[in-house]
């Protein structure tokens, strides 16, 4: 025993597992090098979150420009083309650069903590996912500065809008930037998902059975499966589109035998599961928050989990409801209509379970709970209009009107974004170690709730009286003005609310005045709340042995038999993998490759098309070098020796 205590007394002894092959930032790297080479899931989660909040502001400004243009009839805030670019970039940004990465941020930060793991299964791959996401975000927004500006094809990029012959600007590069950025963002999501699946299946603490996993972790697993099975469809569709645009193939070229209809199918085979990829993480967060603030365990845990999995499964069988008006034929249309109606059942089950959780509970209306309640009510409205759309005749009336815009914003803002903000207010104290100002939080919720409903509720009505979506302007005399003005006012209120919220999040990282959070400020239930706030580098000094589903709650209030135990301190210490430059180098290689392929075509002096692959090949070389160094350097690592009483 004496020997052991001597060892633990020196907390950070470095021990090299293998010889060094390359210069590699050591254990004590700090500042920018630390952030560029980190493989810690918590730092990766933070960077994911911060980048996504930045893009939230960018996408929000785009939305406000759209709303300003629609303030009244025949406005000229934006030109026709600029308007198309705005709604394309707004949609693409919000889906791929905001909601998905915000979910990924929470997955990264909390999933390993919830299952009692040291890190994800492949920490360096996790870093690569982060840098691919950043690279994709940069490429998409670089499009503003080149021929044609950003894409003006809608976030769905329907053929033949993407056909170079039908663009307003000769040599328009917008769609190319869109293709390559989505392709790289897809790689980021795939890598992260493979990692999360492996982690959840394989790295659970002893006793953490699948049916003891927190619902948020379950939803991480379901969403990861959705991503790895849905993304290939759009990856191939984008590759085919790239061949169409750059090498003259005829996949979607209707003049030469291609079928634009096929693009729609491929896009929505990805696009509909994507809807659940966006909403399920929020449902997971809400399923964590409601029990905490109702002081009751989640009602019907098993049902909630299986409903989530069922939604994910059925999400693959309803894509064609986006295409009811394309003339697929009666049988296909009816089948997809019925399946779409059926998917409302597991969704409804979840809602009733949340209500059942609150029923008879001692509810506290803190900010996270307000957002959770906002989520349920707003998501229900979005869900109801969704069921309306599953009916083909109604859908035919609503197609391409503002009614649809209202529907999916109720799902994506009232649903996904409210859920994610709920997550921020709930979990940021764990991340920063500080409580946020409750009054300001409630103010943000009020602004967002009011602004959101002011903006999007009138759109139901606007859609019913026939205002078309994706249309630059409208004429006088339709009676659209008043409702549009209410919507525009509301959108600015919503924008201010979101902005204050983001400022509050960032502020809580720096402010010393905020009150310290302590281990478990909300009296919450899952494993991450047994750790100190902020969480230590090594997560768990001693691997916990799980005895119950809501382990933190059981430890505080449950019977002695249900208290978690801790494995003895390992005399090897906690193994920490080394930081690495390789993920950054590899992602940079991909970035250069994409830029090289974007600019490989030029018209030479004789007017002939010339192709120059130098930059693309250089990018490929950087990529390959990164991968080879990655393989050779190995995980390596050092050991940390937490003290006996440290968590």
């Amino acid at each position: 025993m004496a020997i052991e205590s001597i060892k633990y007394a020196s907390p950070e002894t470095e021990s090299k597992l293998e010889t060094k092959a390359f210069p590699r930032p050591g254990q004590h790297a700090s500042g920018i090098v630390d952030w560029l080479t980190t493989i810690d899931h918590k730092k990766i989660g933070l960077m994911y979150g911060l980048a996504a909040l930045f893009f939230l502001i960018v996408g929000g400004i785009e939305a406000l420009l759209i709303r300003s243009q629609l303030w009244s009839h025949n406005m000229e805030v934006l030109t026709n083309r600029q308007y198309n670019q705005m709604f394309t970039m707004h949609g693409t940004t919000m889906v791929f650069l905001v909601i998905m990465p915000l979910s990924a941020a929470f997955f990264n930060f909390f999933m390993p903590l919830q299952i009692g793991a040291r890190d994800v299964a492949f920490p360096r791959m996790n870093t690569l996912s982060l840098w691919c996401f950043i690279a994709g975000g940069i490429i998409l927004n670089l499009s503003w500065f080149f021929t044609g500006g950003s894409p003006a094809i809608g976030w769905f990029g329907y053929a033949p809008l993407t056909d170079p012959r039908f663009t307003e600007v000769i040599g328009d590069m917008g769609p190319d930037f869109w293709i390559f950025s989505l392709q790289i963002l897809g790689i980021a999501s795939l890598l992260a998902s493979f990692n999360f699946i492996t982690t959840i299946i394989n790295m659970r603490a002893p006793g953490m059975t699948m049916m003891r996993l927190p619902v948020f972790t379950w939803m991480t697993l379901v969403v990861s499966f959705l991503l790895i099975l849905a993304l290939p469809a759009i990856a191939i569709a984008l590759a085919e589109l790239m061949f169409d645009r750059s090498y003259g193939t005829n996949f979607f070229d209707f003049l030469e035998g291609g079928k634009p209809h096929l693009w729609q199918h491929l896009f929505w085979i990805f696009g509909h599961p994507e809807v659940y990829i966006l909403i399920l993480p929020a449902m997971g967060i809400v399923s964590e928050v409601i029990p905490v603030f109702s002081r009751k365990p989640l009602f019907g845990y098993g049902l909630v989990v299986f409903s989530g999995a069922l939604i994910g499964f059925m999400g693959f069988a309803v894509w064609s409801h986006h295409m009811f008006t394309t003339g697929m034929g009666v049988v296909a249309t009816s089948a997809f209509s019925i399946l779409t109606m059926l998917i409302a059942i597991p969704t409804g089950v979840k809602i009733f379970n949340w209500i059942g959780t609150m029923w008879g509970g001692r509810i506290r209306f803190d900010t996270p709970m307000l957002f959770a309640l906002g989520f349920i009510t707003m998501f229900m409205i979005g869900g109801f209009t969704g069921i309306m759309h599953s009916s083909v005749p109604i859908d035919a009336q609503h197609q391409d009107t503002y009614f649809v815009v209202a529907h999916f914003h109720y799902v994506l803002i009232g649903g996904a974004l409210f859920g994610l903000f709920c997550g921020f207010y709930f979990w940021l104290p764990k991340i920063t170690g500080r409580m946020m100002n409750e009054k300001l939080g409630k103010f943000v919720f009020t602004l967002m709730f009011l602004g959101f409903n002011l903006t999007f509720f009138p759109m139901h009505y606007l859609g019913m009286i026939g205002q078309p979506r994706r249309t630059h302007s409208y004429n006088e005399g339709h009676g659209f003005e008043a409702w549009n003005q209410i919507a525009t006012v509301g959108s600015f209120i919503l924008g201010i609310g979101v902005f204050i919220g983001v400022v509050q999040f960032i502020h809580s990282f720096y402010s010393k005045k905020l009150k310290p959070a302590g281990k478990n400020p909300w009296d919450a239930r899952s494993l991450e709340w047994t750790l100190s706030s902020p969480v230590k580098d090594y997560n768990f000094a001693r691997t916990p042995i799980i005895k119950a589903r809501d382990q933190a709650w059981e430890n505080n209030h449950g019977e002695k038999d249900n208290h978690s135990e801790k494995q003895p301190l390992d005399d090897h210490g906690v193994h920490m993998p080394d930081r690495s430059w390789c993920p950054l180098v590899t992602a940079f290689g991909l970035f250069v490759m994409a830029i090289g392929l974007l600019f490989h075509q030029s018209i030479d002096a004789s007017g002939e098309l010339a192709r120059d692959y130098t930059i693309a090949i250089a990018g490929g070389v950087i990529f390959v070098v990164g991968v080879i160094m990655w393989a050779i350097e190995g995980p390596r690592g050092y050991h940390l020796f937490p003290k006996e009483n440290e968590e």
Binding site: I197, L231, E240, D253, L262
Partner: protein
């Protein structure tokens, strides 16, 4: 298992919840995803196969282009390479480094023969076939197809077609997978000479094996669906 290997396992393969190594779970997840990649490509091909047969009055009979004997041969070679791969995995599990090395080389060589056949095939399809008079006919490019030489001796015109698009992109994607596999195996082949390879790397070779067999299975689907079916329906 040697002491060194036990030690290495200790550090690289922590105990997992399921008992399956992390790398293997990762590989299976990736292969599940890859199924969808190929599923999308194969469906695209099947959807277009008949619909676009006569675009622009240019009837395409794929049998005029294909060289089914060559493709059958290369299919056989790829299938055979899977045997080498399986033997390599078995050898590394038994700790037989020498046998692992040569079985890896066998897989690499057979994979490369398959790739060479594909390069030959692509080149000839794009170039077209010579008829009795020495004229070129039946050219298939990414975007167009030229049929038989016209009766007055003029070369057939290249006309837009979808078959080349789906065919080259589908089989090309498969070829890229094979090429990646060859380079991956080559990496391990080279590594086997460094003296560091041990049974601790069995899991890595096994992952290569999973990938290689998967790519093989995909070809078992592509060969009948893209090639043989043209002779049946």
């Amino acid at each position: 298992m040697s002491d060194a290997a036990v030690h290495a396992l200790d550090h690289h393969e922590p105990v997992t919840s399921t008992g399956i190594p992390n790398k293997k779970v990762l590989m299976w997840a990736f292969l599940g995803s890859d199924c969808m990649f190929f599923g999308t490509l194969i469906s695209t091909h099947l959807i277009y196969r008949k619909i676009s047969a006569t675009v622009g009055g240019n009837t395409l009979d794929v049998r005029d282009i294909f060289d089914i004997e060559l493709t059958s041969f290369s299919t056989f070679i790829l299938l055979a390479s899977s045997l080498f791969m399986a033997l390599a995995v078995s050898a590394i599990h038994k700790g037989n480094l020498k046998s692992t090395r040569w079985m890896l080389l066998g897989t690499i060589v057979f994979g490369s023969i398959f790739l060479a056949c594909q390069v030959y095939e692509f080149t000839h399809f794009v170039h077209g076939k010579e008829n009795k008079n020495g004229d070129l006919e039946h050219q298939l490019t990414l975007s167009a197809y030229a049929g038989k030489t016209l009766e007055d001796g003029k070369d057939a015109e290249l006309k837009p077609h979808v078959f080349g698009s789906t065919f080259y992109v589908l089989t090309g994607t498969h070829g890229t997978h094979v090429a990646i596999g060859v380079f991956w195996l080559l990496g391990w082949f080279v590594y086997s000479f460094t003296g560091r390879m041990s049974t601790a790397h069995a899991i890595d070779i096994e992952c290569c094996g999973l990938y290689w067999h998967f790519v093989d299975i995909v070809w078992i689907i592509i060969f009948p669906v893209v090639y043989l079916m043209e002779y049946a329906f």
